[in-house]
Symmetry: C2
Subunit: 197 residues, 2 copies
């Protein structure tokens, strides 16, 4: 009987595909093994267990998403960069719902694994770079980054959960939201009295 030639990465990839096709909760050891033409137990040579697998899928997704955003925003600045960034984020979530969902789970990822993942650092650099054109300084920069990420994530999460009734197309609200954020970044309000320094 020929070997399947599996590796941790190949298993992770298959898991990610399964997550997108059938939903993240359908990514089980047995179902994945079946898809790979292998017995359940065989997967444990490549992956520590289900939780580890999900962590790897999350890491993969984070890296992929960051890469897409990097490609989309390359060479752009200001409003164009903001829109490209946001659209790339949303499109990734739409195209890969299972992978995207995996990134939302409370972080319980093998530190060793996370160590050599280029994602997080790259993602931070990207976001700060995109905001460079708006002339913000710390700590406003951090606050702005967090606001943007919150909005992007929140929008696609609510969208995925069916949170937007059909009244108005989500796409339209999305564009207006980005316009609003752009305006906001151009006129970022100064800290009020009473806010911590």
């Amino acid at each position: 009987m020929p070997r399947a030639g599996l590796t941790a990465h190949r298993v992770t990839l298959a898991g990610a595909e399964l997550a997108d096709e059938a939903g993240l909760d359908q990514v089980t050891m047995s179902r994945l093994a079946r898809r790979l033409g292998v017995k359940d137990a065989s997967l444990y040579s490549h992956v520590r267990g289900l939780e580890d697998l999900r962590g790897r899928i999350a890491l993969l997704a984070a890296d992929e998403k960051t890469l897409r955003i990097a490609e989309a925003t390359a060479g752009l600045a200001g409003r164009d960069a903001l829109f490209a960034y946001a659209d790339a984020w949303r499109e990734y979530a739409h195209r890969h719902p299972g992978r995207y969902l995996a990134t939302q789970t409370p972080i319980r990822i093998d530190p060793e694994l996370a160590a050599d993942a280029p994602g997080p650092r790259r993602a931070v650099e990207l976001t700060y770079g995109m905001l460079r054109g708006y002339g913000l300084a710390e700590p406003d920069l951090t606050d702005a980054v967090r606001l943007l990420r919150s909005t992007f994530h929140g929008f696609v999460a609510l969208e995925a959960a069916g949170g937007f009734a059909h009244a108005r197309p989500a796409q339209d609200s999305w564009v207006r939201a980005l316009d609003a954020l752009h305006t906001l970044l151009e006129h970022w309000p100064p800290a009020r009295e009473g806010d911590s320094p």
Copy 2:
């Protein structure tokens, strides 16, 4: 042997408590039955199954959250209303992480059940009411509501997932985000050319 005197509502409540204490993924039929001093099968007299139970928890949470927001924003307007609304939202998510997580699952709730839940309609009224002071008209009103909800949800979701490094306290970024949103609502940008009407 005395009866436990269960009912669908009591089971749902126990499930919600378990979700907050141990995590939503720990809410299993068997564990819940154990906590209630009852055999697994007994729960199926009150609840259709695990999915139904999670739907009920989600509905309960949505109602509770709406109620908290209603109480917090009662009699307020403008900036005060916005902050009270947002803080009530975030505080509910903090206090009831399991319940809150339940509301995020793609909607697959028994229609009959959802029918007599006061939550959704009430929530919509509340949000539109809060925005009344800003003088927005449709469709900007809908867009603004969606932006706010996205930001609120995104922020607490990222917070819960450990998305904010410890550099700056999340609370500070939260306050600045709300300030920014308030400013934004006061100067809501008009639709740009090319946006759909």
